[in-house]
Symmetry: D2
Subunit: 383 residues, 4 copies
């Protein structure tokens, strides 16, 4: 008999849509031990949540997210709300005995994140954080290659997440309000590349040695304002920072919404004694690998198309070689791993939980402190 996992989703915006799609597709493409059921969706707007439920096939819709905690049928709660409510919602669900999958960054503040980590430690439910890019096949292959020693002693980590939608004409949506979002590009984008750097290297950051946080556009038009009323945009447009890893690597990170020319360039590169790796989400199916142990005559960056069933992570589930996959597939791949874990199996690659995401949040915090104090910050000082 088919085993199911009843899912409740809180939030119905961009991430609500991406996650709904993942629940819809996962059991079609993967053999998962639990089949997800789109049980309940909760959001603030009555009409909106009903329309969303109708479209995506959620069985129930509600504007009262706390009802989910009380519903014994629900196994997994997926938190896709703005960052300022992650803690409240996640903790409530953990206390109700649910498994919780929360969007990144873990929280709006380090204090909230710490509370979430603590709640997770006490809970019987499992926690997950949607660092979806770990599940791009090229990133997963990179993870494997690092573990196989193909990079060797790591010298450099070079990570940047460049977008350009935050120009002066973009209105004051919630992502530009500090009280809702916690931060700007930093929590939205640096969170991803810090996670990727920690995940790929398996190492931890010991110091942020310098940082800059800048708000270039300080006022924006309020959304829907007919008179062009403007409000304060008080989150960072960009945060860049430098860091050291415990085993010695030197790292740089940059997140920005004003990198004209780049729409979604989530980039990471590792350079080591035995080899090097680089990946850019805009060509997400490709991993570039440089094998430094190859004969110098024929050594070169290799363009690895990570779509080959039987050879590349998650590729069996999808299409023939080089019939490329896209953004949404990272979520489906991650959902498959979550369902494996909830069904008692191993994920293909480690999944980030609240404790893990808390470490990423500490690095976010350290970068802001370094920018604020214009000096280095040791991670041991960030609690």
């Amino acid at each position: 008999m088919e085993r199911v996992c009843n899912v409740a989703l809180i939030g119905q915006q961009f991430m609500g849509r991406a996650h709904s799609n993942a629940y819809l597709k996962v059991a079609k493409f993967f053999d998962v031990p639990l089949t997800p059921v789109l049980h309940t969706v909760a959001a603030r707007d009555q009409e909106g949540v009903e329309r969303f439920a109708q479209r995506w096939g959620w069985q129930q819709a509600t504007t009262r997210w706390r009802e989910i905690a009380d519903n014994d049928a629900i196994n997994l709660v997926d938190v896709c709300t703005p960052n300022d409510v992650h803690a409240e919602q996640s903790i409530a669900m953990l206390e109700a005995g649910k498994h919780v999958a929360c969007e990144k960054p873990l929280a709006d503040t380090l204090e909230h994140a710490r509370a979430m980590k603590a709640a997770a430690a006490k809970a019987k439910g499992k926690t997950f954080v949607w660092f979806n890019y770990r599940r791009c096949p090229a990133v997963a292959l990179a993870y494997q290659l690092v573990r196989e020693g193909r990079i060797g002693r790591l010298y450099h980590v070079r990570a940047s997440y460049l977008q350009s939608w935050g120009g002066p004409d973009t209105p004051l949506v919630w992502r530009f309000e500090k009280k809702r979002a916690g931060s700007g590009a930093h929590g939205d984008l640096n969170a991803h590349i810090i996670d990727l750097a920690r995940f790929l290297t398996g190492d931890q950051i010991t110091e942020v040695t310098g940082g800059i946080a800048e708000t270039f556009i300080k006022e924006r038009v309020k959304p829907g304002s007919k008179s062009g009323e403007r409000g304060r945009s008080d989150v960072d447009d960009c945060v860049v920072f430098l860091a050291r890893f415990k085993q010695g690597a030197v790292a740089s990170f940059e997140a920005t919404r004003l990198a004209t020319g780049h729409q979604n360039a989530n980039y990471i590169e590792l350079n080591g004694s035995a080899g090097a790796l680089r990946w850019n989400f805009e060509d997400m199916n490709l991993l570039w690998f440089y094998d430094n142990q190859e004969d110098a005559r024929t050594a070169g960056w290799r363009r690895i198309m990570c779509t080959s069933g039987g050879h590349h992570p998650y590729a069996d589930a999808w299409w023939p070689d080089a019939h490329i996959i896209g953004y949404e597939h990272g979520f489906v791949n991650m959902t498959a791993d979550i369902l494996r874990v909830l069904g008692g199996q191993q994920p293909l690659l480690p999944l980030p939980d609240f404790a893990d995401a808390y470490e990423t949040q500490r690095v976010l915090e350290a970068a802001l402190l370094a920018a604020k104090h214009r000096s280095a910050v040791k991670m041991s000082e960030v609690k």
Copy 2:
């Protein structure tokens, strides 16, 4: 009240899967006038078809495809079988008054294709052929730019579809048997790029001026054979040919399964007096455009990331800018257009029907004749 389109699918292999996914997703991402219902799937293997129906949510499964014709509830029949049965199945369904969407190439032989075109002309149902690459947003944008005069007088069409899975170790699957497949790389891959060339240029081929069809690997191990028994691989591994378009352009086409290094390089380039375009499926979200009317000082190939909602075809339906889409999205986009047509609306771009695909089939035939006779073949000679 919601209007539905009951769909029947014949075939449950690669294309059956791609199409099922499209029916599953289309009404989630697009506002379509008809909602597709996964009504019936038919395939030869009882157990297989039931498992497939269960996984994908088809309401009924059958091993007798002819039953579909008799079921008045079914509106659209989707033919995803090997090429040698396209004609029989499509014609039966057209005669039963169904709309038919058939996989490409239209048929295994020109004779079959001609019969299908004739049946379509008499039928009240509409016909569609799954030339899915027309619906990649970058291709759709290319189509628009050509029509806006951004290419000008066309000099060159350069099209190739390079794969490499057909090496000597690949077993003798149906795609290598002439009686099942009709042809090899030619019908499988050249069909796509001939369609793209005809679609983008809006012009017709008047002559194939030379061609080569080659079977490099003449024997292959039979699938499942324990003793390594070998059989004859009698389709082309590659077909290359040259052609002229009515308005004067010079064109080359190449399809091969032995282009070591390329997995799915479906490529087309147009060079004209006012500009040039090129596209490669392996970077399907990108269109490269060269504006020849730009100042020579700053002119250059532009890398257009065709993912911007409000600006690029089909992009509104999907994710934020540069959150890239993949292979399967071409099918979803095409399904949206099919449902628009069946619901009385306009497709975003012209859809290929049997009459249109028959013209592509004629070019396929002309190329084989040119290769066989080692001389030019005028299209007027190919009936």
Copy 3:
């Protein structure tokens, strides 16, 4: 004591300049057994040739090229004139006992080429043809890899030389006049890629199976004409053709001056059972290599930067790794090999002589015949 090679140059246009630069630089960068002396330059225009000699350091200038034959001091004659006088000048110099290095294509007509080959066979001087692209380090590495079996059984050769300077606004220079140039893009560009294909594969073409030669722009303004007087442009703007190699490979060739967007895209690709290679002059320092014997998990096109001294052909002579070289360096590298041969040493790679270039000329001829007769032409029919 230093041994010298007295050089005479006929022609002072584009190639005269490129060759003068090569003679100037070669002994600075290479240890060559003979030092070239810029002895005499000959050209039709008295004032022009004197100015050229002055600028480049040629010791003597003359408008009477035949005087070179009579000058016993001159060892090597370098023919850089339009194609229609290659035969007359080269044969005269061979008969005078000189070594001759002639620009490509060998001649304007096959008849002339045949006479040149015959003269070379009887002469005591050595002959060379300036197929300079063989000496790009990336091409030279490709040559070595093919010989080491890294490509295996060859399936495909895909060669094109795409330029775009031949639009309707380009005036009627000698390159557009058949009586001067012999052909258009064909002799100018296809000559290069036919040579590259023959050189890299080590195989010979046995049949041209189809071809198209097209003159899109049939009239052009005469250079210097104040009244805009127009004359007939009677050479091909493009020639594309298909061919078979003796050992079975299927090949395509394309040369055009109307490939909008490409300025100098001299491209060749080989796909074989063991690997694949591709090279584009616009990134001339790079060779892309795909090793098909690598583990499928990490196989990919390798970007080999062919600039590493001690590892890559000709790289010792130049700059540190990835301090890239350009167009002119192919000529310098070739001049080094010519001087090695004249000094009794081995060239790094085989140099094309008149007999070799005659084979390329036969393929050029076969392609034109195939285009003219709209049918295949066996090479054995082209004498």
Copy 4:
């Protein structure tokens, strides 16, 4: 009558060779008001300097560089020695009334650099510093586009110079000794990209907000040591730092000799409100430009091949379009501009003098201070 510029060169290693080549070629390719004469070369090794003079055509060779100061015939002295003697030699030559062109970085220490700037201010001779990359045509075009407002308000500067030759097997050459080189990757590579950033933006750095300097490989084998004796490598292998520009831009810089996979990736990118630019020396003929004022539908990074005579800086001097140039051409282009200035003409683009290079040296110093003190350093504190 021809006007000449008698040049003396001090140093005969890598840069001595690159500069000799420039003097040899410049008057062949450019119409310069002064023709350079290779008058005297000085270096420490008697036999070496004589061989060098012989090969490159220097009229005289000496081991006593001070003699140059006493030779009235010499106009321009070119200093290509290790960084620790730049000051002594340059100041001596300025005091002797010579024009001086010094290799970069200006000096080994800020104190030396300051003395050089002061000497230049008092001297009647002109000074130049060999920041050769300014003269790559693509960089020069970038400079022009910035000035034309095509970038608009500048948000980001992203500069890195990635090499990989500094692995543990590389012996202890002078570049790894602090007393000779002053610094490692920092002075060698960051000097270039700081200069490029200052040159392109026309803005000045006001603060270095954080930095890391790291020596990963602390011991190396002494060159020529048979017993494998090791010595201390006491320069940085990498220096990364963050900075702010006066007009608000946020910048990052990275120089390293351990970026496995990159041989000479000198990279700079600017993102502004109106557009963006990026350039990588490994494709030095290309400038990538993103016009943010273009219609979003067809906007994209443009690959501008900066080789078109009549349109691109310095391109007239060289070969036809896309017949690419290489590393050495930056030096030739710069030599042309130096000769223009010495001959009373304008350079095509501004040339860096000692005062200008001193500003770059101050930034180098600030970065080291920031790394040492683990805190931000205002440029006003670096004198």
